[in-house]
Subunit: 423 residues, 2 copies
Amino acid sequence: MDTQESLLPVFESLRRAQERLALQNRLQKDAALRAAAEAVDRRRAGILAANGKDLEKARLSGMKEALIDRLLLNERRIDGMVEGIEAIIRLEDPIGRVRAGWTAPNGLGIQQVTVPLGVAAIIYESRPNVTADAFALAYKAGCSILLRGSSAALESNRALLGAIREGLALGNGIPEAVALADSGRREEVDQILGARGWIDLVLPRGGRDLIRRVVENARVPVIETGEGNCHIYVDRDADTAKAVDIVENAKLRKPGACNAVETILVHRDAAGDFMPLLAERLAGKAELRCDDPSLKAIGPPPAGLALKNAAEEDWSTEFLDYILAVKTVDSLDEAIAHINRYGTRHSEAILTNNLKAAEEFRRRVDAACVYVNASTRFTDGGEFGFGAELGISTQKFHARGPMGLEALTTIKYLISGSGQVRP
Amino acid sequence: MDTQESLLPVFESLRRAQERLALQNRLQKDAALRAAAEAVDRRRAGILAANGKDLEKARLSGMKEALIDRLLLNERRIDGMVEGIEAIIRLEDPIGRVRAGWTAPNGLGIQQVTVPLGVAAIIYESRPNVTADAFALAYKAGCSILLRGSSAALESNRALLGAIREGLALGNGIPEAVALADSGRREEVDQILGARGWIDLVLPRGGRDLIRRVVENARVPVIETGEGNCHIYVDRDADTAKAVDIVENAKLRKPGACNAVETILVHRDAAGDFMPLLAERLAGKAELRCDDPSLKAIGPPPAGLALKNAAEEDWSTEFLDYILAVKTVDSLDEAIAHINRYGTRHSEAILTNNLKAAEEFRRRVDAACVYVNASTRFTDGGEFGFGAELGISTQKFHARGPMGLEALTTIKYLISGSGQVRP
């Protein structure tokens, strides 16, 4: 196919650059990253002007305000990007770590050491700050990266990438280690997904449809991220006041986040105390979609409460909105079964003071992050202390949960002998 | 598709069984494995009789003797299977290990613990011993496994699986955690490869064509195994006598193994000393396919030496036979470039006493196992001390190099709070 040819020179250039980048030490990589951060800082006027063009085009096309806000750059957001790169500079080098080492009976020394995964690609939606984050994480991990941003952010991403590459050149780095797939054509994504042997990892970052499309079509390794149909189970032995605080936080603090809670499972013996308090707390702030028992438990609804009957589809919906589904369960078993059936293996919480219930929940719930007595909102590379994150993996293969630099590494065995042969 | 339906009950049963198996502790898993080993031991007459049927059918169909030998079971090989399961019983439980743990500034306790990957599938060729090994490794790691053996081994595998499941039942284990895909139909493989959500990992074990077919068609995660176009680079500063010993071992000891050497790269300054000795050692034992300079370096060929001119395709061929390609290189750089171009990222060796050359080779060669002064034949779970192996991964995603139990695990974060919410 001739469309296949158009990205091939980019793949080749990224591969060659990665081979060189893999040999750079931390001082070299950090110096290049620092120069890139400085270039973004220095060229902010040009970046903002480019972003202005994207915004103008977006407004003319009738883009929704929420999406425009995602696309928007301003002085503060550029400061954030620069600080993000600085934070990645401060992280330890994930490469060259000896994860294990031993001597075989015949005297062979065997070491398992970390090496860069290779060439990564990220396919993402409007937010231009992902451009700077993804580049910096990849560079620090010795990986080349192909950035495929949304066409709505094309001018912003071109300006950003121009600054980054200028900085890398000035900082004696490897500008060819980062590239933008900027034709805006949809087939470009197909080329990336089919680039076996060239791309070692594809990260889709965006909505459910994007992730699904990538997962369905990729011939290269993918890490699924982000879909979070998260639950909080309010056990019979929960502290009711704390439970209301935690649910409020997990729902209202940032409803569009993948770690926000979508469904509350409440033990029938806890519903009578918990539901009226929850209804009162969320009145005027979020809509509740309740099954019959939890609806009844609310009693007379407080003023301003948006209340609906829950439908079957609510259990499998990631609302990403000020909407909360509520289901009453008869037992811990039922709660766990519901979560393992409808959950997306992202973040799940139990609120209880019962040790056995907490342990059962932890053992039997299949998810990247399982919480006892805390908000699901903590599933985040920053909160976990990873400094930065590539995304949150909802798969079990290669990486799971908040992904820091480690997801961009693999291992190599180094074996040292003195002439050993195998009998 | 209606063919799609036929394995669905098997997938469901494996998934349910895996949920239960994930909760078993080491004592329970080991007791069940011991009972399975005893059942294989006890039912060996039936297994051998079933194998006899497979062998008869294979001979009638004109199967080659080498393949018949792979299919053959005898008392000794059944002993080997039983011992293989016993060896896996002795391995530490890979599940429930706390790989990292820390306390966040807000007091949240965060632990990263190992959990089973889920439901695995293995697609393999004739060797029935893989049936016992793969089952036992998966069971120990808390994973269900679907075995898709070759149709040539169908009776043997059925008898083996019957014994294993009988043993699991007697040992209070979970017989449903292992199943055989035994329709013999080719579409069965397609169903396994497409079973997203049901199968968490597919391992193809067999020839290049099988692996390629699986990799090309899988919609579920795959670990590529086995293809090994391995090189030994004989540096200018190699110990010539040891080099001849190592090359002989890596080529002749088991030419059909994926870790056998296929091409020797010899530095032009070493060729004069090394090639005549190598030619003498391999005369009558292996065919040499040499480029011009290495051919000349041999001088008058010793009696019985099979000698040919190397062709371009030899550099990319995994002979799996008593054939060795030889190329002369002008430099370490040329050797590394050749390996990174033609190698399959499996096992690569440098023979040298030059420290800088050894370090360069280690850093720049992209392979699962990089050797200095030893035979490539050591790339093996047993030799690495892993007790057993699922295969040797030649990919960089999830697992690389010899795979023990760890390849069948993933992680889960357990977060313990006392009411924390995210500001």
